[in-house]
Symmetry: C2
DNA sequence: CCGTTCTGCGCAATCGGTTGCAATCGGAGG
DNA sequence: CCTCCGATTGCAACCGATTGCGCAGAACGG
């Protein structure tokens, strides 16, 4: 028994497998791909040899020849926030199940970083790219990556061509408008009238959510104007100012851009002695897990984050296989009423 | 002007760049790599040509020849939980800055999935692999991936060779013991005696944390035995049973495996009418952002998650460049006292 | 017994860069 | 004027798989 087991043994090549199975490299290749032209016996012999040698194909070589990498690119703003984590998780899982690897980069809402990400994807030749709410314009995106291999996961944004209603190929959206409408309706039903919207500074302030709050109020014939607050860029920063500003002239309810902001605001308001929901009702958006165990538990519009990731991956993979991008979808959202908003009045004699 | 701008234009190759710069492919290649043997003039001409043509090198071809992919693999249990999200985020950022792409897969604490992940990494020829608290044994890990290209991010676990104290090459750990000790000390200082530990079912129950709680109690001369509870596998599941079990014979304080569990327990206990910290103190572990805005805000042992990810990436990259794995580190943790534990007694005349 | 058709397999080109080695050129040295 | 040398650049092999095409041998029909 010679030195053998601990020398940095050379990587096993297809050639080695072929040799062990007494066939040529081409036959080995075809056998492993289950090519019907290879006799069943040979196929099994090759597979056996491959298994015995722990053969691992070299993706670079394969990709070079086949012009496919079985790799997907995922660009999102931030891996730390619960929603994107959820999306990334589902995306990766779906991709993995379909035999794809995923290369992820967090763009941090920065133009240069996002462009770099796209370049990285291009170099590595990802078969497709999914982008979650980029700061790059959809136009630039489509310029930089093959539009037929591009999926946009685009919650709440106006700059998308033909939004809502008709599904746009390759675009995954959520029905934010319905969600916000339901939230505002709920607030109105519990007797709130003076409702304000709190925008997150990380967002363009022309969000559909803000607009929908205003629209719903108008439709329901509320005359008090909707006030709008906007939180500083980083939701984890000291919220003092904003909370104080709000507390100075407290609305009856606050609709927040998302749960993170809502939770953060609840904390800041508590600091100021403002009680939720007694003094002010709060509703969030996203339905992150922590919203369910905050104190008080947060009323929110739950978004199917996992579903978004899953659908994004599977749409992309279809696009890769079929060459054409499947229609996008607008995923439904759901309001979940918890403790941060007042409960419905026990059927007081209205009218 | 012929059809030209909207036909699916062929991808630009190095050859094209070379042609435009009137040099050979080899020269172009060297020029782009800033090879000093190429005259400065030629180098710039080539770079200019490359820029004008928007040349993007083909990573597959390069990797095939160079046997490097400038890609790192990251295997972690779950992209959804805040701690791992943080680690992944920092890891990706550091890698990107050093010119590496990262391929991530969530192993979901499943043997088969983790093995698959390692295979994916092997096929894609990642230059290095970082693994965050795997369910695979370190031994198996080192068998399946080149140990010189492997970094283990291993919070709280016993199965690691030579843990604590002396840094193990390629192993990033946190000083859990100190953290837990500080937490228990704090609890004792606030007058708690009957202290229980709550283990998370997702963990092997032989965690260092559990052991340290017991040890600290013993060292401080506490005679009441430490009780241990263990939470069901998925921390987001209905906590009813566990909370009820705990409430039935309430300890004075609860040390929880992590913040998620702590937060979740606080919610469940609140449901039962148990007040924190008046009826029971609670301390978590990790220092996730939400721990800072829960109600009551959670006392916790903060772990430098970002630092872990960053260090993991940079260690790995060093290993790739130098061929040898740098020493690992044991990162410090820090207790942050908030509202979920009683405050220190105002210097009562002890002893 | 010979020509045809399959069946099963192997040869060699190919994917797009990188790199060892040789070639070329101008100028210095003899 | 010839040789030598260093500075530049080009030729061609190579990385490891996939695949079009052709070939051998078996099976089959007449």
């Amino acid at each position: 028994m010679a030195v053998n087991s601990d020398r940095p043994r050379r990587r096993i090549l297809l050639k080695d497998v072929a040799q062990r199975a007494n066939v040529s490299g081409s036959t080995a290749s075809r056998a492993l791909a289950d090519d019907q032209r290879i006799s069943i016996g040979t196929r099994e012999a090759v597979k056996l040899a491959a298994a015995e040698l722990h053969y691992v194909p070299n993706a670079a070589a394969r990709s070079l020849r086949v012009r496919r990498t079985r790799t997907l690119g995922l660009l999102l703003p931030d891996l730390r926030d619960p929603v994107h984590g959820q999306v990334a998780s589902a995306f990766e899982q779906e991709a993995r199940q379909q035999g794809y690897g995923v290369m992820v980069v967090a763009g941090e809402r920065d133009l240069a970083r996002e462009r770099l990400a796209l370049r990285i994807f291009a170099e590595h030749g990802t078969d497709g790219v999914a982008i979650v709410s980029s700061v790059l314009s959809p136009k630039e995106l489509r310029e930089r990556v093959d539009p037929d291999r591009l999926v946009l996961v685009w919650p709440d944004h106006r700059s998308l061509p033909r939004r809502n209603g008709a599904p746009v190929p390759g675009v995954i959206q959520t029905d934010d408008a319905s969600g916000v409408r339901a939230a505002v309706d709920h607030l109105l039903d519990t007797g709130c009238r003076r409702i304000a919207y709190v925008e997150s500074g990380v967002r363009a302030s022309n969000s559909i959510r803000a607009a929908t709050v205003a629209a719903t109020l108008r439709d329901r014939g509320i005359r008090e104007p909707m006030r709008t607050f906007v939180a500083s860029l980083d939701a984890w920063r000291a919220p003092g100012d904003l909370a104080a500003e709000i507390a100075a002239d407290l609305p009856e309810a606050l609709v927040c851009y998302d749960d993170q902001l809502a939770l953060w605001l609840m904390d800041a308001l508590r600091n100021l002695g403002v009680r939720v929901p007694d003094d002010v009702g709060i509703v969030g958006f996203d339905g992150i897990p922590f919203a369910g165990i905050s104190n008080p538990r947060l009323t929110t519009v739950a978004v199917p984050s996992s579903e978004m990731g899953r659908v994004a991956a599977s749409t992309l993979i279809h696009a890769v296989h079929d060459g054409a991008l499947p229609d996008g979808v607008v995923l439904p959202v759901e309001i979940v009423v918890r403790e941060s908003t007042r409960s419905l009045p026990a059927s007081s004699g209205q009218g």
